[in-house]
């Protein structure tokens, strides 16, 4: 993340309530252009509502947001020109065929009939749904439908794309494909705001992450920074000669951090938050003539990060609250 880069999204104290329920309690976001930025949180944390405000679908109660330099309320049409939305519920028309869906969007975006048709064919081909292009979307598999949904967002390449829970309910193979598409998009210069409740997904894709819980950002940083902020990573070494363990412990204690002896007499672990210190520790051991069979550095998982930040596990929170998909967050 380059902090000097122009910001794709800049939100200040964005808030939204539905009746008595506060969905978003004041969110600040600064998303640089050209990256995948993850908004991570359990169901009901306010992710979808945040996206809906940024995508100009609902107006915030208070606070403000600029997307690609345009105010989401005062310049909503300018924002709509530049963004596209891939919803939690695949927002394609089930009663039309895949091809008709793409042609429809092409026409609505201003393509002429023939151009819209050609674009639809190109996208169906690229996303591996050409053979099913003439079938009604309601007969599609989950993975095909999700790919069509993403293709529908790319009929005209957006500068910013909102990906809301893009892999919820997908099998691992389809999930990997969605991830590959997301990486390809960023490689072509599109900024992606990724909302997810999967820690692994944010870790895999995102350059920066905002962790949100109960409508607020509770932590922000790169995946590495977030893990480091918990600070419970460790350097593990396995000694060639168990007899060198006391000497090795002394070296690591000095160079790295608190040493925790392992049950195995040939092993040692030292608490360590960053890889530079770990490398130094390994180098110091070599200088002291202590041979290593192997060594490893592990970092806390984002699950641990979430637990440390919120006091409750992400999965517990998700299981404990009813799922809040797009429509149900809205009063009818």
């Amino acid at each position: 993340m380059t902090l000097q880069a122009p910001l794709a999204i800049e939100a200040t104290a964005l808030a939204k309530s539905f009746g008595d329920a506060t969905a978003v309690a004041g969110i600040d976001l600064a998303v640089p252009a050209g990256v995948i930025y993850g908004v991570l949180g359990p169901n009901g944390a306010g992710k979808t509502t945040t996206i809906r405000m940024l995508a100009t679908l609902i107006a915030p109660d208070s606070g403000s947001a600029r997307v690609l330099g345009h105010d989401v309320v005062a310049e909503a049409d300018a924002v709509r020109d530049l963004v596209s939305l891939t919803g939690q519920l695949a927002s394609v028309d089930e009663d039309l065929t895949g091809c008709e869906n793409l042609v429809l969007l092409g026409r609505l975006l201003g393509l002429r009939r023939a151009a819209a048709r050609a674009r639809a064919d190109e996208l169906l081909e690229a996303f591996g749904i050409a053979a099913a292009g003439g079938r009604l979307v309601k007969h599609y598999s989950g993975g095909m439908r999700r790919r069509l949904d993403i293709a529908a967002s790319l009929v005209v390449t957006p500068s910013l794309m909102f990906l809301d829970e893009p892999t919820t309910g997908l099998d691992p193979r389809s999930r990997n494909q969605v991830w590959e598409i997301a990486r390809a998009l960023v490689a072509e210069g599109t900024t992606i705001l990724l909302c997810t409740q999967y820690l692994e997904e944010a870790d895999q894709l995102a350059d920066g992450i905002a962790v949100i819980d109960r409508g607020r950002v509770i932590a922000e940083g790169t995946p590495g920074q977030l893990k480091a902020s918990v600070g419970t990573g460790a350097l593990h070494v396995r000694l060639l000669d168990p007899a060198t363990r006391p000497a090795a412990a002394a070296v690591l204690e000095r160079a790295v951090g608190t040493v925790v002896p392992a049950p195995d007499p040939g092993r040692l672990s030292a608490q360590c938050a960053d890889s530079a210190r770990a490398a130094l520790g390994v180098a110091e051991l070599a200088r002291a003539g202590i041979g290593l069979a192997d060594f490893s550095l592990d970092q806390p998982s984002l699950d641990e990060v979430f637990l440390a930040l919120t006091g409750h596990a992400a999965e517990d929170a998700a299981a404990g609250e009813p799922p809040a998909p797009t429509r149900e967050e809205q009063p009818s």
Binding site: D81, E94, L109, G110, G128, H139, L154
Partner: protein, 278 residues
Amino acid sequence: MTTTPTAPDAADTAAVRRAISSTPRPPRPGPLSAALTFGWRGMLKVKHVPEQLLDVTVTPVMFLLMFTYLFGGAIAGSTSAYLDYTLPGLLVMSVLFTTVYSGVSLNTDLTKGVVDRFRSLPIWRPAPLLGSLLGDSVRYVIAGTVIIVVGVALGYRPDAGVAGALASLALVVVFSFGLSWVFCVLGLLLRTPNAVMNAGFMGIFPLTFLSNVFVDPATLPGPLQAFVEVNPISVLATACRSLMAGEPDGTAIVVSLVVAAALALVFLPLTTRLYRGR
């Protein structure tokens, strides 16, 4: 899961990259073009989900057959005399029932989230609404034509011939444009498509029966007769009868059009406001 084994069921990342790097952004479409595109969508739905059309045409045809043969003799002395009286009214009923589906399909869109995508597009805001009504008008014409054709098959012969039938159909379709906004408001206020359907028919059903569609109001008790005579559906049915008979009733036609315009004037802005707020 329906996947076709012959096709690669996978995204081709290189092709995806080519596809997204190759598009210049076209200029925004005009309001009319956007609305017509939504009209096209409505027609595709008629094509892919013909059951909906079946629902709204079968019921009036059933009524046509039942009333003509079951009650026709008792009400008007003969089935053919009753057919003459009731067919223009059934045309009104058939098409007005179809307008409920405008609200149902709007609500269906909202519950499925496809509207979110439309609303994230830089298009003229009312285009999806106007467009779906354009598509619906195809349904209105089909529903009306079915009734007229079945009527003719049963022996109905309008004095004003084809011109009279077309004029009646046109009037009913125009009236339906106004009325459909009422159901669009219902579609935006209620939670499920089924609720819209139930509420819609709960309103339109008694209103249609408490009109002169089936019986001459002269036979009704005083207060009911007073209501039936001011019921806009009676006025519309009277206008259609007069057009079919080749003796246009100017007052009834104008009142029908004024009611349609008034409904649109009140409920169209309400619809766009509610739609924006969703």
